[in-house]
């Protein structure tokens, strides 16, 4: 009697846990574009990894694997039409992004950072509207002209960029960021993951490196010529380059209520001649600045 009573509950639990309710779909899209005339190329992914390799020439090649999962066949057919890789040109900036009626890309400034306006975490939420009935992942394999000005971002999963020598901005919120063979790195922004950068040549522009939960690891072929500003709440700083300390920076601000001073928020050291500025900030992680092996 008791067993009979529990059988429906057990079946429901099994069906839920094995995902028998959902249906999946996957396809691959290949895209080849002439991008040499654009001032900048930007790629904003949301759920899924992005792997970028710098190549010679002026053409970009994208291979994008789209994986969709929906609660029902009807929802899956709907999402096939509604959620896809798209491109647009704003002024002379080319954007690759995910088109989704329930998660619109909001651009703060052309050429700068942009965010999808939905805060959906990508987990199942069994409600009856829009994106929340489906899961979607876009995995990017990208070949991009190596000297182009490039901004790349994903929200979930890792980001890897190899051999890009132009101005580069990279961000990943939940994943790690691995940049290899890069040169003019302007900013790297993570949150839950680590940042690892191997420079092909010492950068000639200022660079910002930010994460919260991860470490920051930078490798240079020789001593970088930079004033390096470091801040970590729980972490430590390590290097095998020679460095010398730079005096504290104190700022003074007068307003109608009084005067405010801020003293030495960061540890600042000079490497080489201090020609550029590198700003490194994390909360929980260590920092490593070393010579490439």
């Amino acid at each position: 009697m008791k067993l009979t009573y529990y059988i429906p509950l057990i079946l429901i639990a099994l069906i839920t846990s094995t995902g028998l309710c959902s249906t999946k779909y996957s396809d691959i899209k290949k895209l080849e574009m002439e991008v040499g005339d654009y001032a900048q190329v930007l790629l904003f992914n949301k759920y899924g990894e992005v792997n970028v390799t710098g190549i010679s020439g002026t053409k970009a090649y994208l291979k994008v694997t789209r994986t969709l999962e929906a609660k029902s066949k009807e929802a899956l057919e709907k999402v096939k039409d509604e959620v896809y890789l798209d491109t647009m040109v704003l002024e002379d900036h080319l954007y690759y992004f995910i088109q989704n009626p329930y998660s619109i890309l909001e651009i703060e400034e052309i050429g700068g950072i942009a965010h999808y306006n939905s805060r959906d975490s990508g987990k199942w939420r069994w409600s009856n509207n829009g994106e929340r009935d489906v899961k979607y992942i876009f995995s990017f394999e990208v070949q991009m002209p190596m000297n182009i000005d490039f901004r790349v971002s994903t929200h979930k999963e890792d980001l890897r960029v190899n051999n890009m020598r132009g101005r580069l901005n990279a961000s990943a919120h939940f994943g790690d960021i691995y940049l290899k063979g890069v040169k003019n790195l302007e900013s790297v922004s993570g949150h839950h993951g680590k940042i690892s950068v191997q420079f092909a040549a010492n950068p000639s522009i200022d660079g910002k490196y930010r994460t919260h939960h991860g470490s920051i690891e930078l490798e240079f072929p020789s001593t970088p010529s930079a004033d390096v500003s470091m801040s970590s709440y729980h972490g430590k700083f390590f290097t095998d380059f020679d460095w010398k300390p730079i005096p504290f920076k104190t700022t003074k601000e007068n307003n109608n209520r009084g005067t405010k001073y801020k003293i030495g928020s960061n540890t600042i050291v000079r490497m080489g001649n201090g020609r550029t500025k590198m700003s490194l900030k994390t909360h929980h992680g260590d920092m490593y600045i070393r010579k490439s092996s």
């Binding site: 390590f238 300390p245 009084g258 001073y261 003293i263 030495g264 260590d286 490593y288 070393r290």
Partner: protein
């Protein structure tokens, strides 16, 4: 031979002094007051380090911040040398003679602050947080946790509270209209008052004794009676109440592991 040893000794000492000097990083800020003729208030919260406040004849607040405790700063990892975290991360503001100082919790730093002699203080520390104050008149509130509190040649009123450490206070004048409290858990409470003191006192030391050279009238312990289920419960208060001079505002003294010493100047 003897000369060589002496020279070597001095060279080693010189290197040691130099490296010690390099390891401590110091920053000094002078904060002008909005109204230099009037008394002011210093509010400082230092979560990790000591605070030393000295009264002086000037009319500004001078702040010297020292960061010198890097226990593992010369450690290495993966064959890399450590860069000591030298940031202070302190913010100071002044508004209507109120100077506020605060720093991030994880950065160990000590403060030496010089204030005009007539200045009130609100000081709180936590780790390694010894508090010392000298030559200041005003309302003084000090709160520590891991560290003692030493106030010498101060005037006005004092509230001093810590957990791991003794409280030693020498008051050269007092504001009779303000109650005071001196409380710790592990340590003595050793307070010196002017001989003209008039106050009601309330004292408790669970494991120690109480000493004084004042003439103190001790009151009978308070008895609390409760009746439950026909049974009477009688509790004697753990506090000792007394009066010095003609009485006045209540001064409280408490410790658990330590003595209470109330001295006459």
């Amino acid at each position: 031979m003897h000369n060589k040893i002496t020279i070597s000794f001095f060279i080693i000492i010189a290197f040691a002094i130099t490296s010690l000097a390099q390891s401590s990083k110091e920053e000094s800020i002078t904060v002008p007051l909005s109204d230099p003729g009037k008394s002011g208030l210093l509010i400082i919260k230092n979560h990790n380090g000591r605070v030393n406040v000295e009264g002086y004849s000037g009319s500004e607040v001078q702040v010297i911040i020292t960061k010198n405790r890097h226990r593992n700063d010369h450690s290495s990892k993966y064959g890399l040398k450590r860069i000591p975290n030298q940031s202070l991360d302190v913010s100071i503001s002044e508004e209507d003679n109120v100077v506020r100082i605060s720093g991030r919790h994880n950065k160990g730093k000590d403060f030496l602050i010089k204030v005009p002699k007539n200045f009130s203080l609100s000081i709180s520390t936590h780790h390694d947080g010894e508090i010392t104050v000298s030559d200041v008149n005003g309302e003084i509130e000090t709160k520590g946790h891991h560290g003692g509190i030493t106030l010498s040649n101060v005037g006005g009123s004092v509230v001093a509270d810590t957990h791991h450490g003794a409280i030693r206070v020498t008051l050269n004048s007092i504001s009779h209209d303000i109650p005071m409290a001196f409380t710790t858990y592990h340590g003595d409470v050793d307070i010196t008052f002017p001989s003209t003191l008039n106050a009601k006192v309330k004292m408790k030391s669970s494991k120690g004794d109480i000493y004084t050279d004042f003439d103190m009238t001790i009151q009978k312990p308070q008895i609390k009676k409760t009746e439950m289920n026909g049974k009477n419960e009688i509790k004697l208060s753990g506090w000792t109440h007394g009066t010095i001079g003609s009485g006045g505002k209540e001064f409280m003294f408490a410790t658990y592991h330590g003595d209470i010493i109330i001295r006459k100047e």
